[in-house]
C-alpha cells in the first residue's frame, strides 16, 4: 500500500524544498506560530469558529457549477467550475485570511501586516482585520498600486493603510521584502498574514491547510454531481495557493492535477512569470523553491498581464509536486489569457480575474485529452471586477 501523503516534514521541507531561510530575528516568531498552529489544529472550538465564519461571513460552500456552453464549445469532457469567485471579497484569498486572523488574535497580536499583488489578498486581509478591529498595514508594489487602483481604494475603505513599495521592481516580490522588513522590526506585536503558499515554514503549510477547504468541498460535490472524483483539476499558479488548496485533498487519488503558470510575453522571450516551466531551484523569501534567477543568483524581473501571478517564485510544495511528477505544470501567454477572459465572459456569463483566466487558456489542448464521459474541474479562483479598467485600457477603450 502506498504511504499517505504527509508533506512537509517536521523541519518544514517538502522533499528538498521549503525550509526556514530568514534573518535570525524571525526564527522565534516562526517557531511560536508553528506551535500555536499545532494547538489550534486539534482544538475543536477553534475549528468550529472557522467553519462558522466560512459559512456565514464568506458564504461557503462555493458552488460546483456545470459549464454547459463551455463544454459544448470544446466538445470534450464535462467542464465544471468551482466558484471561488462567489466568495465574499471575490476570491479564494479569504479562506486563508479568515483562519490566520483567528490565529493572530489567539497569539495576542494587535497589528496585522500583509503583502499583496493584485490586491485580492490585501482586500481579504483588510476585511478580516476590520471585522476584528485590528490595525492593518498592506504592502503593495508601486506598479501594482497603479494597475489595481480599485483594490487599493477598497483596502482603504476597509480602514487599512496601503504602503506603496518603490524598491526593486516595485511589484509583488518587493512588497514581500518590505513586509518581511516590517515584521523583523515589529515582531513583538505584529502578525504577518502571508497570502500565498510561499515564505518560510510554517506558512506554506498553514496557507495550504486553510485553502484546502476548496478541495474538501469538491470531493463531496463531485460525488453528488457526477458520482465520481474528477478526472482532472486545473488551477492557475502564481505563488500557488488556490491551486494547492484544490489539489491537496486529491494528492493520494487518481486525479490529474494541472497547474497553469503565466508565460507572459512567451517563455522564449524570457519575459514571463513561470518558474516551474523555465526556472531553477534557489532561495527567495525564506524558502527553497523554483525561481527565476540569472546566472549570478540574482532574482529576475517578471512579466505577466496579471499582477497576482507576476512573481518570480512559487510555493515549495509545487516544486515538490513538479519534481515528483504528481502534478503537471504548463504555461500560457498573455494573448491566450485575454482570449480565455472574453470566452468565459461570453459563454458562461462569468467575468474571471486575469489570474483565473490563465486556468481556462489551455482548455483546447487539455480537453482533447479527455472523452465526453469524463469530468474536469477548473478552480475559478477570483472574479474579474478588479481587472475591468486595465482590460479596457489594454484594448484601447476609454471608460471615462
Amino acid at each position: 500500500m502506498k504511504n499517505k501523503y504527509s508533506e512537509p516534514n517536521s523541519e518544514g521541507f517538502f522533499g528538498s524544498y521549503g525550509g526556514k531561510f530568514v534573518p535570525e530575528t524571525l526564527i522565534e516568531a516562526l517557531d511560536e506560530l508553528e506551535k500555536c498552529y499545532e494547538d489550534i489544529k486539534s482544538d475543536s472550538e477553534f475549528q468550529k469558529k472557522i467553519d462558522r465564519d466560512l459559512a456565514d461571513f464568506v458564504g461557503r460552500p462555493s458552488p460546483l457549477y456545470f459549464a454547459e456552453r463551455l463544454t459544448e464549445h470544446f466538445k470534450g469532457p464535462n467542464i465544471w467550475l468551482k466558484r471561488e469567485d462567489l466568495n465574499h471579497t471575490g476570491a479564494h484569498k479569504i479562506n486563508n485570511t479568515i483562519g490566520q486572523i483567528l490565529l493572530a488574535k489567539m497569539m495576542g497580536k494587535t497589528r496585522i501586516i500583509a503583502e499583496t499583488g493584485a490586491g485580492q489578498h490585501g482586500v481579504a486581509t483588510a476585511t478580516v482585520a476590520a471585522r476584528l478591529g485590528l490595525e492593518c498595514h498592506i504592502y503593495m508594489g508601486a506598479e501594482d498600486v497603479q494597475r489595481q487602483s480599485l483594490n487599493v481604494y477598497r483596502i482603504k475603505l476597509l480602514g487599512a493603510h496601503v504602503h506603496p513599495v518603490e524598491s526593486g521592481t516595485a511589484t509583488l516580490k518587493d512588497a514581500l521584502n518590505e513586509a518581511i522588513r516590517d515584521w523583523v522590526t515589529n515582531v513583538d506585536n505584529t502578525y504577518y498574514i502571508i497570502g500565498s503558499v510561499t515564505g518560510p515554514h510554517p506558512y506554506p503549510m498553514i496557507v495550504r491547510d486553510f485553502n484546502a477547504i476548496v478541495g474538501r468541498e469538491l470531493i463531496h460535490q463531485s460525488q453528488a454531481s457526477f458520482q465520481s472524483l474528477p478526472d482532472a483539476i486545473i488551477a492557475c499558479v502564481g505563488g500557488g495557493s488556490n491551486a494547492i488548496g484544490i489539489f491537496h485533498p486529491f494528492i493520494d487519488e487518481d486525479v490529474r492535477l494541472i497547474g497553469v503558470e503565466a508565460a507572459g510575453q512567451g517563455i522564449d522571450t524570457g519575459k514571463h512569470a513561470a518558474p516551474l516551466n523555465d526556472g531553477e531551484p534557489g532561495i527567495l523569501h525564506g524558502a527553497k523553491s523554483y525561481l527565476m534567477q540569472d546566472s549570478d543568483g540574482q532574482i529576475m524581473a517578471t512579466s505577466s498581464i496579471s499582477a497576482g501571478l507576476d512573481y518570480p517564485g512559487v510555493g515549495p510544495e509545487h516544486s515538490f509536486l513538479k519534481d515528483s511528477g504528481r502534478a503537471e505544470y504548463i504555461a500560457v501567454d498573455d494573448e491566450s489569457v485575454m482570449k480565455a477572459f472574453h470566452q468565459l465572459s461570453e459563454l458562461e456569463g462569468i467575468i474571471p480575474a486575469l489570474e483565473t483566466a490563465h486556468a481556462f487558456a489551455p482548455l483546447d489542448l487539455i480537453c482533447s485529452e479527455f472523452n465526453e464521459d469524463q469530468n474536469i474541474v477548473i478552480n475559478v479562483s477570483g472574479r474579474g471586477d478588479k481587472d475591468i479598467a486595465s482590460v479596457a485600457k489594454l484594448e484601447g477603450i476609454d471608460l471615462e
Binding site: E24, A29, G168, N177, R181, G297, Q298
Partner: protein, 262 residues
C-alpha cells in the same frame, strides 16, 4: 589558523577591542571599493565585511538596500567580487575578510566557494542561513572558511547554544529588532544580552546593526569584544562619492577605534 581567528585572538590577548567595518562591493564602483578597503585598514579596522549585493536583501534597511541596487546597476558580479579580494590581497595579506550576503548568491556560486581560502576570503556571514546549520549542511563547504552567525534579541537560550556550536570566527550580535541601520538601539538591553551570550561561547562577540556614533560604540565595547559599523559607512560613502574624498570616513573610523579602546 584562519586570519579571523588569528587577528581576534591576538586582539583579545592584548586586550584590544576590534572594529569591524562593512561596505558594499561595487558601490560606487570596484576601484573605489578597493581603495576604501585599504583606507579602512590604515584607519584601524580589524575585520572588513564585504557586502555581496543581492536583488532582494530582506534584512537591510533603505541605506544598504540602495547600495545593493546601485552596485547591481554597475553590473557587480560574484566573480568581480572575487577579483576585488584578489587585488586587495596583492597589497594586504593580513586583514581578515568576510563576505556578507544572502544564501542564494552563495549557492549559485558554490563552485567558487572551494577556492575562497586560496583567494583570501576568510569567512562568510549569510544573513538568511539558519544559524544552527553549518556550511556543510547548506552544501557549501570549505574547512578553511569560518561561518559567522547572527544571534538576535529574540533568539532563545536553547537556540543560542546550537548557533554557537555551529559557528566559528566570531558571533555577530544583532543589537536590535529591525533591519540594518535602524535607530532603536537600547544600550542597556544590548549589554545584558551580550553578557548572557558570552556565557555560551568562547568565540569573540561583535555587536552591530544601528551603531552610528562614538558614544554607542564606546558603551557597547565595555562588554562586547568589538563593534560592527555598516549603514553609517555605506551612507557616508554614498555622500562622498562625488568628491571621492573619503578622508572624513577614515577619520571617523580612527576615532571609533580609539574610543572603543579608551
Amino acid at each position: 589558523m584562519n586570519r579571523i581567528e588569528k587577528q581576534l585572538v591576538e586582539n583579545k590577548n592584548n586586550n584590544i577591542k576590534s572594529l569591524v567595518a562593512y561596505l558594499v562591493a561595487g558601490d560606487p564602483n570596484m576601484d573605489d571599493t578597493l581603495s576604501l578597503m585599504h583606507g579602512f585598514v590604515d584607519a584601524g579596522v580589524d575585520v572588513i565585511e564585504v557586502g555581496v549585493p543581492f536583488s532582494d536583501p530582506i534584512a537591510e534597511g533603505p541605506i544598504i538596500q540602495s547600495a545593493h541596487d546601485r552596485s547591481l546597476a554597475n553590473k557587480t558580479s560574484f566573480e568581480g567580487i572575487i577579483d576585488l579580494i584578489s587585488n586587495f590581497r596583492k597589497k594586504n595579506t593580513n586583514t581578515p575578510i568576510v563576505l556578507m550576503g544572502y544564501l542564494n548568491s552563495f549557492l549559485k556560486n558554490q563552485k567558487a566557494f572551494s577556492r575562497f581560502d586560496d583567494i583570501g576570503i576568510d569567512g562568510v556571514l549569510i544573513v538568511d542561513a539558519p544559524g544552527e546549520y553549518s556550511l556543510k549542511d547548506l552544501g557549501i563547504s570549505n574547512a578553511n572558511v569560518v561561518s559567522i552567525s547572527l544571534v538576535s534579541p529574540t533568539t532563545t537560550k536553547e537556540r543560542t547554544k546550537k548557533i554557537c556550536n555551529a559557528s566559528s570566527g566570531f558571533i555577530y550580535y544583532v543589537t536590535l529588532k529591525g533591519v540594518t541601520g535602524s535607530s532603536n538601539v537600547d544600550l542597556e538591553e544590548i549589554k545584558s544580552n551580550v553578557i548572557d551570550l558570552q556565557k555560551n561561547t568562547d568565540l569573540p562577540v561583535m555587536a552591530g546593526f544601528g551603531i552610528k556614533n562614538k558614544e554607542q560604540a564606546e558603551s557597547i565595547s565595555k562588554v562586547a569584544d568589538g563593534v560592527v559599523i555598516g549603514s553609517y559607512l555605506v551612507e557616508s560613502i554614498f555622500e562622498a562619492k562625488k568628491t571621492t574624498d573619503y578622508k572624513r570616513i577614515y577619520n571617523y573610523l580612527s576615532e571609533i577605534k580609539s574610543v572603543i579602546n579608551k
